[in-house]
Every structure is written in structure tokens, then in C-alpha cells.
């Protein structure tokens, strides 16, 4: 009797859990099934190519012949014997550390100007965001070539003031500034994010600052900026990463060559030329992985430093 009842009990306990297991497996299966389109796309078009490029970075590959293993030779050539490589690094660093701060500064200024409740504010917001919408488009870059051409808009305006404008796109010293101005002009995205961050600052803080006798500049320094630090961190990281990756604008403004005299040869453009002009796929794959490491390195530095200067309201601050 006892045996049969325990058997019954055992039977009863086993049955439901088996049903439960089948239920969970069935749930999992449905989950994977819904995931599968994205998952397959990711594996085929993102993961596998990235893995392939890692392999190719250690080979010599010109597409028409099979890849040839060369070990670290690509990296060795890149770091020791390739002058254009270091030139492209210099250009890219100069661009990132000039254009990105400029862009963020303009974004913040504009966000503060737009942080009002006047009637036309939403129109202005759209207008200031518009340049970023057309952002990395080819059309804008082509137009930019015309604007800075020898007899383009900028020189036309300068001539009105009696100044003979330089040949912006032909002079190695001025060409990079056309790109930097283009980047600073497209501050729309960080501006909107700053705007959101500004709207989150509790007005009581400003009120208590006024009571303490703070003027506008001090309010900015001691209330606005500290409260915005988390947004600044986000914008800084995102813009820095996209700054390192810049390609389309440099490609079009320099006609794909990085001219004049390699002053517009940003890293991604040099990578592209190595891959598609001289067909050195292995070398450019190696360059891509070095870029990844560099971006990761700088991002890590920014994040590491963030614990010293970023204030998160959720953590109660200090």
C-alpha cells in the first residue's frame, strides 16, 4: 500500500515537472524562433565577416588569389614602415580632438538657448537639428566642396569684406578645417540630448542658487554643468567614437584621395584606399582591428575617468 501510494505520489510529482520542462522548452523554442531572423542576419552579416576580417588581418589577400598567411607582417609594416599610416593617424586625431569638442560646445550653447518656453522654440529646434538630418550624406559633402571652392560661397562672402579667401580645398593647411566646420555644423543630435538633460535639472536648484546670490555664469558653472555631466559623458563617448570612424565626408571633399597632400587622409579613408585601390585586403583588415583597439582604449579611458567627474542623481551624488 505504502509502495503504491508513494509510487502514485512519485508519478504525480514527475508528471507535472515533465510538463513544466516541456513548457519551458516550448517557450524557449518560440523565443528563438522569433529571434532567428535577426540572429541569422547578425551571424551571417556581422559576426562571420568580423571573424573573417580578424583572420584576414594576418594574411596577404588581394581578392583574386587565395589569402596567404603572413603572421604579424601587416602590423609590423603598419607601425614601422608606413609613413602614410602615421599621417592618417595624425589627421584623424587632430580631427577628433578639434571637431568633437567644437561640436559639443555648439550643441550645449544651442541647447541652452533653446531651453525656453517661447512660442517658436520648436521651429528653431527643428531648424537647428536639420543639418544633422542630412548629416553624413553625400549631397551635403558635395555641396560643401562647392561652398569652399575657389569661387565658392565662403570666398564670395570674404571678398565682400575685401579679404581674398584662400583656396580652402587646395591648401593642405586649410582643407582639414573645412571638415571640422562641417562636423561642428552638424551638432543637432548632441544638442537634442543636451536639451533633454537640461530639462531634467530641477528648477529648485536654480532658485536656491539665486537665493545664494549666484549670477548667470555661476549658475551655469555650479548647477548646470555638474547636473549635465552624465549627459556630457554620453555625448562625449558617442561623438568620439563616430569621430574616429569618419569617412564619407573626407572621401567626398577630397575626391577619394585624401588630398591635398594627405591632409584629409583620415584613418578610414586610408583603410579604404588600401583595400579598394591597391587591393590589400589583409593590410586594411589589420588597420581595422587596430582602429577598434584604439577606440576601445580611449573609450575605456573616458569611462575610467568618469568616476571622478560624473554625477548620477540616482546614486545620490556626493
Amino acid at each position: 500500500m505504502k509502495g503504491s501510494s508513494s509510487q502514485d505520489v512519485i508519478g504525480k510529482t514527475v508528471e507535472p515537472s515533465r510538463k513544466r520542462k516541456r513548457h519551458y522548452r516550448h517557450d524557449n523554442l518560440a523565443g528563438y524562433a522569433f529571434l532567428s531572423p535577426w540572429l541569422i542576419g547578425f551571424v551571417l552579416f556581422v559576426f562571420l565577416p568580423i571573424a573573417a576580417s580578424f583572420f584576414l588581418a594576418f594574411t596577404k589577400y588581394d581578392i583574386l588569389r587565395a589569402p596567404r598567411w603572413v603572421g604579424l607582417a601587416n602590423f609590423e609594416k603598419m607601425f614601422t614602415r608606413d609613413l602614410r599610416y602615421w599621417r592618417s593617424v595624425k589627421v584623424t586625431f587632430f580631427y577628433v580632438f578639434t571637431a568633437i569638442p567644437l561640436r559639443l560646445v555648439f550643441a550645449l550653447i544651442c541647447a541652452m538657448l533653446l531651453n525656453t518656453k517661447r512660442r517658436m522654440v520648436s521651429v528653431y529646434r527643428a531648424l537647428y537639428y536639420a543639418p544633422s538630418v542630412v548629416g553624413t550624406s553625400v549631397a551635403v559633402a558635395v555641396m560643401w566642396r562647392e561652398v569652399f571652392g575657389k569661387e565658392g560661397l565662403v570666398n564670395y562672402i570674404l571678398a565682400g569684406f575685401g579679404i581674398a579667401g584662400p583656396i580652402w580645398l587646395g591648401d593642405p593647411n586649410t582643407a582639414i578645417w573645412t571638415l571640422i566646420v562641417l562636423a561642428a555644423w552638424q551638432f543637432g543630435s548632441p544638442m537634442l540630448i543636451f536639451l533633454a538633460g537640461l530639462k531634467q535639472i530641477p528648477p529648485e536648484l536654480y532658485e536656491s542658487a539665486s537665493i545664494d546670490g549666484a549670477d548667470r555664469w555661476r549658475k551655469f558653472l555650479h548647477v548646470t554643468l555638474p547636473m549635465l555631466t552624465s549627459v556630457i559623458l554620453f555625448n562625449m563617448v558617442m561623438q568620439m567614437i563616430s569621430g574616429f570612424l569618419i569617412f564619407a565626408q573626407a572621401f567626398i571633399v577630397s575626391n577619394g584621395t585624401g588630398a591635398p597632400m594627405d591632409s584629409l587622409l583620415v584613418y578610414a579613408l586610408y583603410l579604404y584606399r588600401q583595400a579598394f585601390v591597391t587591393f590589400k585586403m589583409g593590410y586594411s583588415s589589420a588597420m581595422a582591428w587596430v582602429l577598434l583597439l584604439v577606440i576601445a582604449f580611449f573609450t575605456a579611458i573616458v569611462f575610467k575617468s568618469s568616476q571622478y567627474w560624473v554625477f548620477y542623481e540616482s546614486e545620490g551624488g556626493e
Binding site: P260, M261, D262
Partner: protein, 427 residues
């Protein structure tokens, strides 16, 4: 579930039956590079061919120069090259070595490709190791364009066919002095001029095996660059900054002679069609040989401008060759193409086109006839490393620093030789 599988099976069977019905039609793909003008003309010719051969369907993939090679290389690696592709003299050998092109000799023997009206010389450019792999679809040559009206206004006589680089310098400076415009347009600092100058003096830029530079005397090059610097300084030619900002990569319609900013310009002979078109039909332009070195032969040669090849991946080489034959020999088709790629190789076609030619094209045809009589022999194609030498050394380490005044000519020449030799010698 079973119902679903059943339905799928029915759909598959029906569609495969439908596909079998179409299997009679032959589908070809063709890829070429060029400007919109060329695309429009070529597409019309394709449609004409399809009308004559209703069982052959041709789909086309035109693009620009750079994109074309990127696309073709990728498709070659993927095993799906188009049946017909436009080829270039510098690349035919490489593609043949990698087994990507279908040999055409048997198609010539069987009469599919009819070259009875084509001279041997016009076919030799497409031959590798004595076998024909690519059909020349237009010959051209480097040329100098002269704006006759600008010369008249400056009171300068037109130069003769065998003028030298010294003559050129004098004329360019004189025109600039008398008229204030540039004597010469952009582009004479490119690598083709470097190679052509050495060709004119009897050598070639590269050695026979392509693993080293082919000349030892740098003086010719030094003199040429010094001439460029003098002309730049005097303002007789656009400065390098001008070139980069206004002319590089802008297409031939942007050349200085079109807008009257220069009295002379430099280009390939087939480009005169687009240039004259843009400059206006009422202009008075003549074509002359490029200036040669003192005591040298002509600096230019009859170049097979582009080729058409049948690729190794084609499943219908015979039909692909039929199209190439149509392209070469049909007078009707060439009336549409109107020699935009260069002078057609078939003498019958060239004659048939003469009555239709506009001033610009007549000038090109006459010029090519003159060049055939007075030119240097066709040099060997550029070695594989040529693109790398030009891209990584010629411009950034050599011409640009010199023309921007940041490096002396002698230093530049030594640097060029050192770096170029290194690249050419490596594997």
C-alpha cells in the same frame, strides 16, 4: 504542417515547370565603366542587339571606373563574373594569369568574331602570350588641345606636330603674359606624363619584368618638374592647390579650356567629344601631339582604350562573343556609340561613321590617323604594383611635397626612386 509542406511542394513544382519553359532564352550579363553619356549609348546598342537576337537577353551593370574594378574583383572572388566585361590594357594580363578571361582564338577561327576589317596592330593590345583575350573597342592617345581663338588673341602661332617641351614652356608663358589666362590647363603633373616623357626618350618607366624602374637617368624627370615649377610660379598653369580644389576628380567637362580659363589642355583623345560638347559647338579647337623631349620620338602611342572580354565564368561564351562581334562590326551600332570610347578598330565602321561625325569627332579621327603615322610603339602594360606606386609614393611622397614647395626636386626624385623601387621589388 503536412498541408503546408504539400502546398510548398506544389508551388515549387509549378514554378520549376515555368522555369523550364524559359530555359530556351539565353541570359547574359555585361559590365562596363564610363560616364552617363557612355552608359546611355551602350544601353541603346544592347537593346538593338536584343532586337536582332530575340532569344538572347542581356542585363547590364554599368558603373564608374573605381567601382567597376571593386565590383569585378568581388564577383571574381565569388565566382559570378558577368559574361562580358569591359577590360583595361593595364589589367588584362593580370586577369588572364588568374584565369578569369575566356580565350577568344577559337571563336575567331570559327567566325563568330569577325576581324577581317581589323588590322593586326589593333588586336595585339588584347593578346597575352600570343593568345587573344580582349577585343579593343576604341583606340585613343594622349593629346594636347589648343584653343585656336585664344592663340589668335594672344598673337601666338600654333605649334607644329613635333614641338618639344621647351617650345611648350615658351608658348605657355607667352600666352599667359599676353592674355592673362592660364597658358595650360591642369593635369600635366600626372604619372602618365612621367611615363610618356621616358617613352619619348626611348626608354620606359618600368623595367621589362616590372620589378624595378626602367631608367637610370633622372635628369629628364628633374628637368620636367623644374619646368612645372617655373610655370606654376609664373602663373601660367594652375597651382597644385588649384588643381586639387577645382579639377581633380571633377570630370572632363570641368577642364579649364572649356570655360576659356586656359588656352591649352591635356587629355586622352576620346575625351574631346565630351569637352567640345561642354565648351560649345562654336569653339575652334585642334588636337596636337603632346610635346616631346628634345631629339626624342613622339611622346604618345596608339593605346587600346578599352576592351571587351568574355569572362571564364560565362556559361555562353559563343553568344557573348556574338555581342562583341556586333559591337565591333555593326555600323548601325557604332552610329549610336559614335566613337565615344575611341576610334573603332574596324576600318569599315570607321569609314561608315565619317559622314556622321561632328567637328570634335572628326578632329579625333584625323588625329588618330596622324598618331598612327607618328607615334612610339605600344609600351608593355603597367606592372601590378603600379597602382600602389602611384597611390602611395608618386603623389603623397613625391609630387605633392615638391609642388607645394615643401621638398626640393632632387630630394623628391631620390625619395621617389627609393620608395618606388622598394614597392616594385617586393612580392
Amino acid at each position: 504542417m503536412k498541408k503546408l509542406v504539400g502546398c510548398l511542394l506544389v508551388v515549387v513544382m509549378v514554378s520549376s515547370m515555368g522555369l523550364m519553359a524559359f530555359a530556351e532564352d539565353i541570359e547574359l550579363r555585361i559590365a562596363w565603366w564610363g560616364s552617363q553619356n557612355r552608359h546611355d549609348r551602350t544601353i541603346k546598342v544592347i537593346e538593338m542587339f536584343m532586337k536582332e537576337h530575340p532569344n538572347i537577353k542581356i542585363s547590364y551593370e554599368p558603373s564608374g571606373w573605381n567601382d567597376h574594378w571593386t565590383k569585378m574583383s568581388t564577383q571574381a572572388a565569388g565566382g559570378n563574373l558577368p559574361d562580358i566585361m569591359q577590360q583595361d590594357y593595364a589589367r588584362v594580363e593580370e586577369w588572364v594569369e588568374k584565369g578569369m578571361l575566356h580565350p577568344l582564338d577559337e571563336l575567331v577561327e570559327s567566325g563568330v568574331l569577325d576581324f577581317s576589317n581589323v588590322s593586326e596592330g589593333n588586336l595585339s593590345g588584347g593578346m597575352v602570350n600570343g593568345k587573344l583575350y580582349a577585343v579593343n573597342i576604341g583606340t585613343n592617345s594622349e593629346c594636347w588641345l589648343l584653343d585656336v581663338d585664344a592663340f589668335e588673341k594672344a598673337g601666338v602661332a600654333l605649334p607644329p606636330q613635333d614641338w618639344t617641351l621647351d617650345d611648350f614652356e615658351k608658348i605657355a608663358l607667352e600666352i599667359h603674359e599676353k592674355s592673362g589666362i592660364w597658358g595650360m590647363g591642369d593635369g600635366i603633373d600626372n604619372e602618365q606624363r612621367w611615363k610618356s616623357n621616358y617613352l619619348s626618350s626611348g626608354t620606359w618607366a618600368y623595367s621589362d619584368d616590372g620589378k624595378a624602374l626602367g631608367y637610370t637617368d633622372n635628369q629628364l624627370h628633374i628637368d620636367y618638374i623644374n619646368m612645372l615649377l617655373r610655370l606654376q610660379e609664373a602663373g601660367a598653369i594652375p597651382s597644385r592647390a588649384d588643381e586639387v580644389a577645382e579639377f581633380d576628380g571633377q570630370g572632363v567637362e570641368a577642364k579649364a579650356i572649356v570655360s576659356g580659363k586656359a588656352a591649352m589642355d591635356y587629355m586622352w583623345s576620346n575625351q574631346i567629344v565630351a569637352v567640345w560638347n561642354a565648351a560649345g559647338e562654336d569653339r575652334n579647337i585642334v588636337m596636337v601631339h603632346p610635346p616631346r623631349t628634345k631629339g626624342g620620338t613622339a611622346a604618345n602611342y596608339v593605346k587600346p582604350g578599352q576592351f571587351l572580354s568574355v569572362t571564364a565564368h560565362s556559361k555562353h561564351p559563343k553568344e557573348a562573343a556574338m555581342f562583341i562581334d556586333y559591337f565591333t562590326n555593326s555600323v548601325e551600332a557604332n552610329k549610336v556609340l559614335l566613337a565615344e570610347r575611341g576610334v573603332p578598330i574596324s576600318s569599315v565602321v570607321a569609314e561608315g561613321l565619317k559622314p556622321l561625325l561632328t567637328a570634335s569627332q572628326l578632329e579625333m579621327f584625323d588625329y588618330m590617323a596622324r598618331v598612327e603615322q607618328d607615334s612610339s610603339p605600344l609600351p608593355p602594360p603597367d606592372p601590378i604594383k603600379h597602382a600602389e606606386v602611384i597611390d602611395n609614393v608618386y603623389w603623397p611622397e613625391f609630387m605633392d611635397p615638391i609642388l607645394y614647395g615643401q621638398m626640393s626636386v632632387e630630394d623628391g626624385i631620390a625619395r621617389f626612386r627609393e620608395l618606388a623601387s622598394e614597392i616594385l621589388a617586393e612580392d
